[in-house]
């Protein structure tokens, strides 16, 4: 840890442990039992680390080339990975072995467990795999490639891509609703009350559909492409990145239209990720310069309450653990680090 990390004398949070790999860490998730972290590396390695010590519990060469997507089933011990070798693999973390391997024609760039169903997109096609199936099922095929998909209301699947956001019935996969926007929608999330569907677009906008009032809204004026967005779990605020700024929008009734957002920054370098704590109190921002900043705008305004990270080590994956006690990061330089959440009296 460098002292230069902190020119403004903000309290420094030091890592509890550092784990070293030989390859960039491209993915990092918390295992279902909350006792370990699962990392995907740029050479195709899947590594399970003990959350308390950082020691490696299990490691396997999941793919012959880099990992493209990694998703953990929240209801079981299954982990899905896709790789540059065009394969999708499902791993059982208890049995420490692959339980399904399927080779596609090209890269599978996105895979997510939605309940016990695994959905994955390969270019313009979206597939589904359920326990007992030996082969995945094609769910839908679009004219343009699919960028992102999330579960809505546990009953609908929301899918976005170029010019389109569509909602499908999760059981029948019939299309319930489609919204259009002439631009590439590449990152999708819903407000926790599922009233707002929010998409980041390649054209430096965020596009919002108010599903309750059947209105749409475009947020413009970002200085750079919005790479990440995240709702506070109570749904009252949403944070997004835009270059070296973090913008916080007020989603309290009637919504964010015509309200002035809070802007954090500009920071020294572009921000890669924004993540609210699960209890909603603290926002963490993760910069491409390796700096992690912790924010409590309600108490500290636009000044960070604590700083962590390793200067000049690009952060490529980040999370809060579900118990809110730790922040974990994966770095382009091969480190995995665990930091305690900064303590603060409300």
């Amino acid at each position: 840890m460098s002292t230069e990390l902190n020119p403004q004398q903000i309290p420094i949070i030091r890592p509890l442990w550092l784990s070293v790999t030989t390859e960039p860490v491209t993915h990092l998730e918390e295992a279902q039992n909350g006792e370990s972290l699962i990392a995907g590396l740029a050479d195709g390695t899947l590594r399970q680390l003990d959350l308390k010590s950082g020691e490696t519990i299990f490691e396997t060469s999941a793919h012959s080339m880099g990992i493209l997507a990694l998703s953990i089933n929240s209801e079981s011990n299954l982990v899905a990975t896709t790789g540059e070798d065009n394969k999708i693999q499902i791993w059982d973390l208890i049995k420490k072995k692959s339980v399904l391997s399927y080779k596609a024609k090209s890269w599978i760039e996105n895979a997510k467990w939605l309940g016990n169903k695994l959905f994955f997109s390969q270019g313009k096609n979206l597939f589904k795999w359920e326990s007992g199936q030996t082969e995945p099922t094609l769910v839908t095929s679009w004219e343009h490639s699919i960028s992102d998909f999330v579960l809505k209301n546990n009953s609908e699947l929301a899918v976005c891509g170029y010019s389109r956001l569509s909602l499908y019935d999760l059981d029948t996969m019939e299309e319930n609703q489609t919204f259009n926007w002439k631009g590439q929608l590449f990152k999708l999330c819903f407000s926790p009350n599922e009233r707002f569907a929010v998409c980041a677009s390649n054209d430096l906008t965020i596009h919002i559909w108010d599903l309750k009032r059947n209105k749409d809204l475009t947020m413009r004026g970002f200085v750079a492409k919005v790479r990440d967005l995240h709702f506070r779990p109570d749904g009252l605020y949403m944070a997004n990145t835009s270059g070296s700024e973090v913008i916080i929008w007020d989603y309290m009734e009637p919504g964010p239209a015509n309200k002035k957002p809070t802007v954090l920054g500009p920071l020294e370098k572009d921000v890669q990720f924004v993540r609210y704590q699960h209890n909603g109190k603290t926002l963490a921002t993760f910069g491409e310069d390796g700096v992690i900043l912790f924010w409590r705008p309600d108490l500290f305004g636009e000044k960070p309450l604590a700083i962590a990270g390793i200067r000049d080590q690009e952060i490529s994956a980040a999370l809060w653990t579900r118990n809110d006690q730790f922040v974990a990061t994966g770095l382009q330089t091969g480190y995995i680090a665990l930091y305690p959440t900064p303590e603060i009296k409300d």
């Binding site: 390859e23 740029a42 880099g66």
Partner: protein, 326 residues
Amino acid sequence: MNSNSTLKEQKTPVTVLTGFLGSGKTTLLNYILTAQHGKRIAVIENEYGEIGVDHHIVVNSDEEIFEMNNGCICCTVRGDLIRILNQLSKKKDRFDYVLIETTGMADPAPVAQTFFVDEDIKKNFRLDGIVTLVDAFHINQHWDDRESQQQIGFADVLLLNKVDLVSPEEISNLKEKIQSLNGLTKIHETQKAQINLDQILHIGGFDLNRTLETHPDFLDGTHRHHHQNVGSVGLSMEGFVHIEKFQAWIGQVLQVQGADIFRSKGIISLPNEKKKYVFQGVHMQLDGNLGPEWKPDEKVQTQIVFIGRNLNREVLQAGLNACRLN
């Protein structure tokens, strides 16, 4: 520990391979991937082929073209490239060059524009050049096709392949015809697409300084050939430019003629600036920055090259002349 992967500012160079079906793209690709050149290459190819390579990344992709929502009528980009290059950028240490193979009928513009328009792509990658393969034996059958003229018009380097199948006179005629379309392209004669890789990689095709090194007389007017409506025009003007006037003029040229202009490259002499301002463009998209300093013995002048359809050299030169700072 991967010590050389701390915050890399350097952009990964990208070469685009174009050429009609059968012109030798796949042969060249296989040659590049199997040759001992020490580079680790990521290849984005348009066909589902199995190329046996250990130290390269090969990605299959369907060309997916869409319009950018930026008010520009001709700004189409390759969505599949945005997705794949963004994935690759997470693993920058695992390759040091990217090759993109296009389909035979492809217009190179959406590929090139992707590098001008998408912010993340601009940040991590640099379009080094467009290499076009031309089948010397069959090109005359396709010469008048719009796709042929676009691919030749966009080329920084052109490989006149299969020259063993045609006579020296035919080669000479073909070269002249190609130069009439694109006076800045560098032509290499090849058989079975065999070429020294230094001739097609790291060529700096979007850098007018480097281009003029290989065509020192281009701007003197001797290359003002035109074939049908496609041609290349070089402009030059001594002295400094009036910045506001220049911006207004180039904006107007691209607004009116951008759809017809395949490529533009330029070096601008700005007042009170030691460095050259260099720009490059595809159709209406333009990107530029301060480049190297003017050398003490160098003539300070603005130089611009346009390649495209229906270009009127006299009108363009007069427009540039009107931007001179008095």
